[in-house]
Symmetry: C2
Subunit: 282 residues, 2 copies
């Protein structure tokens, strides 16, 4: 049976993403930090890890890009998960008996409309959504609820009081699957590559020339992001996702070409494109 | 006296950024949400607002880009603030008496090394860093501390037990100053522009051609980021920061030129570049 590492408490959205990707029969391994997810996979205590990389409201998670750059692991897959917040409590509780709701501050903020409509209900910060759900089961109270995934409600035997508590429906997280070996592309699968690099100079137009490497070969770009390099002040680090696999000759030539123009370069992985995008979930 | 709106509790890092930018004699106006910051400035209950836009570890705050696109305000300045977490408690407390520490889960995670080194100290989640500091003053306990800004310690009359609690020193947040009118450029000031746009098609190479508009005019790019458009599935929204002001002829021509190639376009603002970058703070 495959063991899949994720950061958080059982029932966390990363746990949901791991089970969605690998099927309900995989064994998921909770880790304390994102760094622990990488180490768990590296030390072969898990076959793969699943980490969030960007959220449609909150942005990219730079910390996980940093870990991808410093650990010898590869991206082997991706998954888009819609974040649907569920209000859950003990079987004997109801919307009327609830006086406080525990969750991660970000989840509470994403459900601020609910708290405005229910003035008597107090929002209580918690470390994580699934941990809040777990705490309800352990304490057996009827005046306290949690906001977490529907899966967490099932896992901790809690009653769903209300679904889709979030203010905005466009809340998607893209997760990456990381493993020890590069993914092999199969015929008929639409692949994408993720690379990270630092252009050789701060010359005006260097990025234009870098993108020319792909544009002049008709290779489509799916994501681009620049960020000051945390390890090297005054330099920029770029993340690029592009369509295709290094097994395609034009992609492999483009990836060789780009290395002539950069100081740091890393192929983070080549993997099948997740179904849909942020808005047509997998 | 200038009134400056920010999101959070007095003493929050946004409050610190506002005072750093406008000087210690400005009056800062706490708001519940980022949206409230925009509304407060729009309704002239404050002259300006100060909002975080990206963090060196966590990434861009898309929500604030969305608000910039939907509200009729402009970016008129920027500031880079190093996030230095301070451990603070009552005057009679000491590192030895502390058993629990309150703060926002993200701040607690950024100080995880401290909790590993002090196993008897429990991390307790709180809505925000400054709110945690405020709660300590209100309850007058000696076994509980908070992690917040040095400014919050001063504001709530708490003793600083330890500075620089963060695991990683490279924790910077870039804040934007927003106002009702476009900023006027002064001679001798290095200006930058922020724009947001959606390319006209998903054609391969469209971004290359868009960047050509700037590269072929020797205009330097300072930031680029793409993101699925939350209001329009299957389209990408781009954020671009570039050097110069629309008062420079080549910049003004480039901004006209780019509008031929995009469906949505917004000049978010033109403003003096903040001193340094993420790593040479202002």
């Amino acid at each position: 049976m495959q063991r899949i590492a994720f950061q958080g408490v059982p029932g966390a959205y990363s746990d949901v993403a791991a089970r969605r990707f690998f099927g309900p029969r995989c064994t998921t391994v909770p880790c304390e930090s994102f760094e622990d997810v990488f180490t768990t996979v590296e030390k072969k205590r898990a076959s793969f890890g699943v980490i969030p990389i960007e959220n449609s409201l909150a942005g990219s998670i730079h910390q996980n890009y940093d870990l991808l750059l410093t650990h010898p692991l590869h991206i082997v897959g991706e998954l888009h998960l819609r974040i649907e917040h569920v209000l859950m409590a003990h079987a004997s509780a109801s919307l009327e008996t609830i006086r406080s709701v525990r969750s991660h501050p970000q989840a509470l903020a994403q459900c601020s409309g609910f708290f405005r409509r229910h003035r008597r209900v107090k929002a209580v910060p918690y470390f994580d959504t699934a941990g809040a759900a777990q705490s309800i089961r352990e304490s057996e109270v009827t005046d306290t609820a949690a906001i977490a995934s529907a899966f967490a409600a099932k896992m901790y035997g809690l009653k769903v009081l209300k679904r889709n508590l979030e203010n905005r429906p466009n809340n998607f997280t893209r997760f990456l699957v990381i493993g020890r070996s590069l993914c092999r592309s199969r015929a008929g699968t639409r692949m994408k590559c993720s690379i990270a690099f630092t252009p050789r100079t701060n010359q005006v137009g260097i990025l234009f020339r870098v993108l020319g490497v792909f544009a002049l070969r008709d290779i489509d770009l799916l994501k681009i992001e620049s960020r000051p390099d945390p390890r090297s002040p005054f330099e920029y680090l770029f993340y690029l996702d592009l369509e295709g696999s290094p097994r395609d000759e034009k992609v492999s030539r483009a990836l060789e070409h780009i290395q002539e123009m950069v100081t740091q370069y890393r192929l983070l992985g080549a993997y099948p494109r997740g179904k849909g995008n942020f808005y047509g979930a997998g």
